[in-house]
Amino acid sequence: MKKNESYEEFVKGIWRDNPVFVQVLGMCPMLAVTNSAINAVAMGGATLFVLVGSSFLVSLFRHVIPKQVRISCFIIIIATFVTIADYTLLALVPKVHKELGAFIPLIVANCLILGRQEAFASRYPTRLAVLDALGMAAGFLLALISLGAVREILGDGKLFGFSLFSENFEPWVVMILPPGGFLTLGVILLFFNWFKYKKDEFLADVAEAERSGS
């Protein structure tokens, strides 16, 4: 039972409660930095680091932090992790850091992170909080990569910087421009909503069949 529960906390962020496709959180970095798969990975990685680190600390100190000043404390913790991520990326991968520009410091304002602290990490034991953060961050990373990959393939004919097509490929430039982000995200959200609709329909059918059968 215990094992199942923690497994569930991890998995829910990847699919059922995916922060981007289901909760529609963190849209700003989602649309801004997904013009290539590399940028998406760097952004997702930085967010993962910040989210897991803050969730761990917030959960660890959840009985120490008075609830009147909890949001300020969450922000201090998040901002510290963001600054660490910012300098680390600048030192290790200056090129990627340049591409991401202002969006790394802006991770502080990503509502996905503050949201998880308030809704989960500040109420649950450390182990569950870290698992939840890992799941949510993995879901976010997955969403960023899928968007980044689609946009890079269509808009630049490449994936992770490797050319996929022959010279004759005419890149669909709009896909790496801001409108491409909205188009791609719109199509993916459409798929998720269609999927949810179909699943609800199926469950209703099953319930109906069970009732008439008994």
Binding site: V69, C73, I76, T83, T88, L92, F120, G155, L177
Partner: protein, 227 residues
């Protein structure tokens, strides 16, 4: 969402609130100073390496060392570390320590944001011999051809700068100071040309006569200074 009830402690005193925030701020400050101090050497080294690579790229191949030059007290002087916001050019020297050419940084408005570039300039021949875009946010697929289009970049590998560079419609370049603009990126191409002309203009009075450039201050062949 919450199956576990949140603990409701009695209202804490103001002192406790202030102390909590102060301690959080203090710990955060220490952590930030720590990471800053740890990464600073790598970041500075990266920046210096990027600059060196760009300088060597825009100058002829026989350049083996470089030094930063600034205009102080009426003449061009070699410095270890230029002051912040002080206009600087980089002198390129060959293995014997003889002067080859300047790498001149310039910046100006492009189509979307500032374009910063570096170009190689041989004062003796009055020629631009290389151009490298250091920073730009031009439109992907169109304006970014100013550094992705090899033909356009090659236009700057042997280009007369006096009289000033003129950008012309693609395929109509006839003079040694003509540059073929990129179709679909006219504004960005013109911006590059304008930045080079303006930079050239602003330094024209300050560069010494060809042949009397400041000598290389360091030991020739040691890989250059300026770091």
């Amino acid at each position: 969402m919450s199956s576990e009830a949140v603990r409701q402690p009695p209202a804490p005193s103001s002192l406790r609130l202030v102390l909590t925030l102060a301690i959080a701020g203090l710990v955060s400050g220490v952590a930030i100073i720590g990471i800053y101090e740890t990464t600073l050497p790598t970041i500075t080294a990266n920046k210096a390496r990027e600059l060196r690579e760009a300088v060597f790229k825009v100058l002829p191949d026989d350049v083996s060392s470089m030094q930063a030059l600034v205009y102080r007290d009426g003449s061009l002087t070699a410095v270890e570390e230029p002051d912040k916001d002080e206009p600087v050019v980089y002198g390129g020297y060959d293995e014997q320590g003889d002067f080859v050419g300047y790498a001149m940084p310039g910046a100006g408005p492009g189509f979307q944001d500032t374009i910063a570039l570096l170009y190689g300039y041989l004062p003796e021949k009055k020629k631009v011999v290389g151009m490298e875009i250091l920073e730009s946010r031009e439109t992907p697929g169109l304006g970014d051809k100013i550094y992705k289009d090899a033909d356009f970049v090659a236009e700057f590998s042997d280009l007369s700068i006096e009289p000033e560079i003129v950008s012309v419609k693609k395929g109509t370049s006839t003079q040694p100071n003509h540059v073929d603009a990129i179709t679909g990126a006219t504004i960005s191409s013109k911006a590059v040309v304008r930045i080079i002309n303006e930079t050239h203009e602003s330094w024209a009075e300050q560069l010494p006569a060809p042949g009397s450039e400041p000598p290389f201050a360091g030991d020739p062949g040691d890989g250059g200074s300026g770091q």
